[in-house]
Symmetry: C2
Subunit: 326 residues, 2 copies
């Protein structure tokens, strides 16, 4: 089977491609296991660090319809759509956010519809679709009320994916990701970027600024768990999705203070002392509009998984990034 991954050069994209290559097979449209023959790895920036004859790296603009037509032909059985403009940037540049986070998603769905292939379409959505007055634990039945353009665009995509799936145009699954922590590499323009930074930077011997208060609750997922859930979301049969195509994933609910406690336990006080609190009202406004805990009952019933301890999340980051100085 042939697969497309968008946002392939991103951190999750690369990890997903490696996981796909390692597995070597996925469920096809009728549930049967099929060998992965080709992965078209699409991104606006070149893909580096993956060398496998099954992977074809393609650079381009995801919102360009002609490029999408070349990318997705009738042979494509599955699309993992990870490409997105992150929350902070989408808030700063409304048109760019709409173009990439919504129009490109719509164009991908339309392309599959035009082909009539009914391809599987696994997309990452976000808890940023929630906002306003929220209960301590957000149920799957809770209304969406995004307080950012990023959250709005993700909710727009969710609605479209659900209707395209209901009509049989695609076989869609939208996975509402908790904040993925610990991301390696550099800070990005997501409002949640600090959540990785306050763990990653101190471990790497670098100072980090935390723009939100210690008691801020966060809803997190480790990179490994995120990839497991992306693959699981692909493998579910359409018949299992009786509760709809938009799925709030389970996660780990911890406060920023608890995250730093884990950092202190695992990496030591010297590392933990490298974090400095410096409130940033713009980031606080966005992050505080996100819920800190979810029931995620539907996802759990479908077999999606969550991390069980933030200590383990920190340990996994150290293990996965063995080059990092401790």
């Amino acid at each position: 089977m042939n697969i497309v991954v968008t946002g392939a050069a991103g951190f999750l994209g690369k990890r997903l491609i490696k996981a796909l290559l390692e597995r070597g097979e996925l469920r096809g449209q009728h549930g049967q296991r099929q060998r992965i023959e080709k992965i078209s790895a699409f991104d606006v920036v070149p893909l580096a660090g993956i060398d496998d004859p099954r992977v074809q790296a393609i650079s381009g603009d995801i919102a360009d319809k002609a490029e999408l037509e070349r990318l997705i032909g009738p042979d494509i059985a599955s699309v993992f759509h990870l490409a997105a403009i992150v929350s902070g940037q989408a808030e700063q540049d409304f048109d760019l956010g709409m173009r990439i986070n919504f129009d490109a998603t719509r164009a991908l769905l339309e392309r599959i519809r035009a082909l009539g292939s009914g391809a599987r379409f696994v997309m990452t959505s976000s808890v940023a679709v929630f906002g306003g007055t929220l209960p301590h634990t957000v149920e799957d039945s809770h209304v969406w009320a995004p307080q950012s353009s990023y959250g709005t665009e993700k909710a727009l995509g969710d609605l479209l994916l659900a209707d395209y799936s209901r009509r049989g145009f695609v076989d869609g699954r939208s996975l509402r990701m908790p904040t993925v922590v610990v991301r390696p590499g550099k800070p990005n323009r997501a409002a949640s970027s600090f959540a990785s930074g306050i763990i990653r930077e101190p471990i790497n011997g670098v100072e980090a600024v935390c723009p939100v208060a210690p008691q801020t609750p966060m809803w997190l997922i480790s990179p490994g768990c995120a990839i497991d859930n992306l693959l699981h979301g692909h493998e579910l049969l359409a018949a299992q999705l009786s509760g709809g195509r938009v799925i709030n994933l389970p996660g780990l609910s911890v406060t920023v203070g608890e995250m730093l406690d884990s950092l202190r336990r695992i990496a030591g006080s010297e590392a933990a002392n490298r974090v400095r609190f410096e409130p940033d009202p713009a980031i606080e406004r966005i992050v505080n509009s996100w819920p800190g805990n979810f029931s995620a009952d539907y996802a759990r019933a479908l077999g999606f998984v969550a991390d069980t301890s933030f200590d383990d999340v920190v340990r996994a980051f150290i293990r996965d990034n063995a080059g990092a100085a401790l």
Copy 2:
């Protein structure tokens, strides 16, 4: 002040224009009362039956950007956006529904954003955004899960209106209308068309077919109440809308059987006996996905109103349509 009404030649559009003319004034951007100087009445079909120097009828395609630019200039203080493809037709013609119910709404919001006028934008949305497993009474905090393309398109518009308002591009208010009953005139392609037909046709001496079971709960609003709420939605100050820009209106919850009981009481057995039950699975599927009752707490707190008895709704129809044979 200058106003635009889209869907102006429709039943609600015409009634709204008449109500605006009768009032003669509305609240402007800073809350002050202003005289209505001009109403640009836009529709794809010509407007008939309204003759007032303040009304300028314009026929055109709401999804045509050049026409929108001519229609909405910097002088337009308020837009009432009622134009829509009804649910049954949007389900049959997906592209048409997306084009009118979503792309045109987006183009209108974009036009106001480009002008920088921050115009007030009052839009009708629908309870068709709800679906799936629903409680007996739907709270404002209940998730949207449209089971039709019409409901999807209305939810897409709601999300966009909310974000455009949050960013200050427009001053939007989306009113989630219960099914408007009794509509005069001919049946349309809305899945809910029968709800007016089973009252209107028998009163006019014509047989009517009811495609859903007598115990089907309906969430209704009379035309008079709908117009009152549209005007009220316009008049609210932005500062009052702390619970968001998307508002589930209050309504009257009755079963189809209770509607026919009212018909029998008000118009007599001869009229009521003109209704024949003939299940239509396509319509039943859509109508049964809509909730039959809402708390509408936010709307009630904001002062929106509901009908209190279906007998009164039938009486109002007879009074408003005095030409109808009884």
